[in-house]
């Protein structure tokens, strides 16, 4: 799959063409209904946001060349009755039998309340929330992206001269806190004197605040910046414009500033979705609870940029190999949070799959910022 950035127009043109090809190629199969599948993708923001939604839209685009598969998509669907009705509309008007409502907030109550009404439809939610008590026609998948952010941190640790790196974050929730901590711990694997300043914008998508936060971090002397917001485009452009290096998140943002882009932690939904669909088209079902990290191909790294030094490349490659091998851990005791409280006792080691990490509520020592 190409990683060139897509303009909305180009994307629409391309998808229209692909959809046409798909429609034509599926014609001979019309008599064998079981071989045809309509898949619906629902995004909370714009599908060309250089971020979370684009990562899923790229995954959806990867399905369009599969024979017998028709993809329908809808963007900017709110986590209100809007998403319930969009799902029903895809089922009723498009005949979709497999839905991917991709935003975290779609799950409870919207998917959980709709699923019992459409028992023949499969609801696959991105976020990893499914438990045994939930409907069986609902599934949940998610990726462990924190190790990819740790690799971002290694590149940042080598690139920073001021020994201060910056993080623009949406909300102080566990997923985000884990990424902030991993970014700093990656950098500290290079130089333990590095600190990471974090600014929370309070919103998943608030470009004005994101730009202000980025400028504030640059003013404070941070010379490598990354972000965890829905669409990191503004952060990347602003930081690069101020001369800082950038590490991407969600999708590949290198096209925004190729010289300043070190690497990025990307979702690899194209592979995940292709695997899912291959299984379904062969008559199988997707497991209700699926997760994976770098090793399983759920997440991937952007190609290293020209500003990444040879020393950084070596440490990056070594660490990546260790992660792929398994058993690698960044959260191990003794570890203190940034108020001096011990959060992981000596001898305790958390692997990336450890469920305890999913309720993380602290920032580790060396992060400048507060969770409240």
């Amino acid at each position: 799959m190409s990683h060139l950035p897509l303009s909305r127009r180009g994307f629409l043109r391309g998808t229209a063409g692909l959809a046409g090809v798909t429609a034509l190629s599926s014609l001979p199969l019309a008599a064998r209904a079981a071989d045809k599948l309509t898949v619906g993708f629902i995004y909370v923001g714009a599908k060309d946001d250089y971020g979370y939604n684009q990562s899923h839209a790229e995954g959806a685009a990867a399905l369009k060349s599969m024979p017998g598969v028709t993809v329908v998509e809808e963007e900017k669907v709110a986590e209100t009755v809007d998403v319930t009705k969009t799902m029903e509309s895809m089922i009723n008007f498009d005949g979709a039998t497999l839905l991917f409502p991709t935003s975290f907030g779609y799950f409870d109550p919207f998917i959980l309340e709709l699923a019992p009404k459409y028992k023949t439809v499969r609801f696959e939610h991105c976020g990893g929330l499914w438990t045994d008590k939930d409907p069986k026609n609902v599934g949940s998948y998610f990726g462990y992206i924190d190790m990819a952010v740790y690799l971002n941190g290694i590149c940042a640790g080598h690139a920073t001269k001021s020994k201060k790196i910056g993080f623009v974050a949406a909300k102080p929730i566990p997923q985000v806190l884990e990424n902030i901590n991993c970014f700093l711990l990656g950098a500290r694997a290079v130089d333990p004197s590095i600190t990471c300043q974090v600014i929370f914008t309070g919103e998943w998508s608030m470009p004005v605040k994101e730009a202000e936060a980025t400028n504030a971090l640059c003013d404070a002397g941070c010379d490598v910046i990354t972000a965890h917001v829905d669409g990191p485009k503004v952060v990347m452009q602003t930081a690069a414009g101020r001369g800082a290096y950038i590490c991407g998140y969600h999708a590949n943002q290198s096209a925004l500033a190729p010289d300043k882009y070190l690497t990025g932690a990307e979702w690899n939904w194209g592979k995940v979705y292709t695997d899912f669909l291959t299984k379904v088209m062969a008559g199988g079902t997707i497991d209700n609870f699926v997760r994976g990290g770098l090793a399983e191909g759920f997440v991937k790294m952007s190609p290293l940029g020209p500003a990444v030094s040879d020393a950084a490349r070596k440490q990056f490659a070594d660490t990546q190999a260790a992660i792929l091998k398994g058993g690698f851990s960044v959260f191990k005791g003794p570890m203190k949070d940034n108020t001096g409280k011990e959060v992981i006792p000596a001898g305790k080691v958390y692997l990336e799959t450890d469920v305890a990490l999913e309720s993380m509520n602290y920032l580790v020592e060396g992060v400048l910022g507060s969770t409240s």
Binding site: E74, A78, T80, V81, S89, G105, P109
Partner: protein, 368 residues
């Protein structure tokens, strides 16, 4: 009386019988004409983009009004919009332009969520009215405060209500991420989920929650208040000329406070239903922009609480069709937004046409 004179008198009375009808017709024909013109204009825009307006409107009809599912879709979207539009239409009768209903919606919803958790063991027949009252009361305080600022301090109500909407959203975020947060809501901060008994269900036989019925009743009651009571009459006078109303001894201050608070209470009810019927807890999704769509609806309905109903249904139908239009015609999500904007501007422009047509002005019929 000669036969001739009698015939003339008869003819005149026949014409006079039409006069009230003609006056009322202006308020219906002009907006409908403007709506048609707006849709036609947008059709031209589509043609310029190389898309078929016929296909577009067929899809809008199909997804908004064409099937039972489409109606359920449209009606569920209309419920909060009706409340939000009343929050604009009521103060408008006093000449106040209040555009901050969003703040009252999110805070009304937050109050509902917080109280609902606290009332866990109370019977629903008691708890639900209490929750609704709490939502309405918080909304009434919020928009009533805008009215008070206007009356006692001369603060512009438009700016004040808009800015207070931002404060309201920030306050909601603070509460649901701080004091009211359910510790189990890890990655989407929310209040604790309401017990199932305290959820508002659907209207029997329909896939639409009870908020729609309550909203429709509120629209009718508001119309009665404005058109059929002395309070409404006084408000209309104050809206036309506040000095004249004061000279007449009308209680302008109390009218302003009462009407803004009542409008806010309706917006608060929208928040109550969002939490109790849709979300099941108070969270950031309460700020879904209903308050802003309500402004559009109230203006298109010329601030008439009954006209709000068809306009809200129309706009809800547009929104219900947004998805199908995206999927079938490869148009961007903003298409429906542009359609709404075009219709809005054309209807606003049509305001300048009132009183220009002799057809609707019986007093000018005889001059020709």
């Amino acid at each position: 009386m000669t036969d001739q004179a009698m015939a003339r008198a008869q003819r005149r009375s026949g014409v006079d019988g039409l006069a009230p009808l003609a006056r009322r017709a202006e308020g219906v024909v002009l907006p409908l004409g403007a709506l048609a013109a707006g849709l036609a204009l947008f059709g031209l825009l589509l043609l310029a983009l190389g898309k078929s307006p016929v296909e577009f409107y067929a899809l809008v009809y199909k997804a908004g009004f064409g099937t039972a599912f489409s109606w359920a879709n449209t009606l569920s979207r209309a419920a909060p919009l009706l409340f939000a539009a009343l929050c604009v239409a009521l103060p408008a009768r006093l000449g106040l332009v209040v555009i901050g209903g969003e703040g009252a919606i999110v805070l009304g919803g937050t109050a509902t969520g917080a109280l609902g958790v606290w009332l866990g063991g109370v019977p629903p027949a008691l708890a639900l009215p209490l929750m609704a009252a709490a939502g309405a009361a918080v909304g009434a305080l919020w928009i009533g405060a805008v009215g008070a600022l206007r009356h006692y301090r001369g603060v512009n109500e438009t700016i004040a209500s808009l800015l207070m909407a931002y404060i309201g959203i920030a306050l909601m975020n603070h509460l649901i991420e701080g004091p009211l947060r359910d510790p189990a809501s890890l990655n989407k901060p929310s209040t604790a989920p309401l017990p199932d008994a305290l959820r508002v269900g659907d209207i029997p036989g329909m896939d639409v929650h009870w908020g729609l019925v309550v909203a429709l009743v509120c629209c009718v009651l508001t119309w009665v208040l404005i058109e059929r009571t002395t309070w409404g009459f006084a408000a209309r006078i104050a809206g036309d000329n506040v000095r004249a109303a004061q000279v007449q001894g009308l209680p302008v201050g109390r009218l302003i406070l009462g009407f803004t608070a009542l409008g806010g209470a309706f917006a608060g009810l929208a928040g109550f239903f969002e939490v109790a019927a849709v979300q099941g807890s108070a969270n950031a999704s309460l700020a879904a922009g209903y308050g802003y769509t309500g402004i559009l609806i109230a203006f298109l309905a010329r601030q008439n609480p009954l006209a709000v109903i068809p306009v809200a249904l129309l706009l809800a139908g547009f929104e219900a069709s947004s998805g199908l239009v995206q999927r079938r015609m490869d148009l961007p999500d903003a298409t429906i937004l542009v359609l709404k904007a075009v219709v809005f501007v054309v209807i606003l422009v049509s305001d300048t046409l009132y009183g220009r047509f002799r057809l609707f002005a019986p007093e000018r019929w005889r001059r020709s």
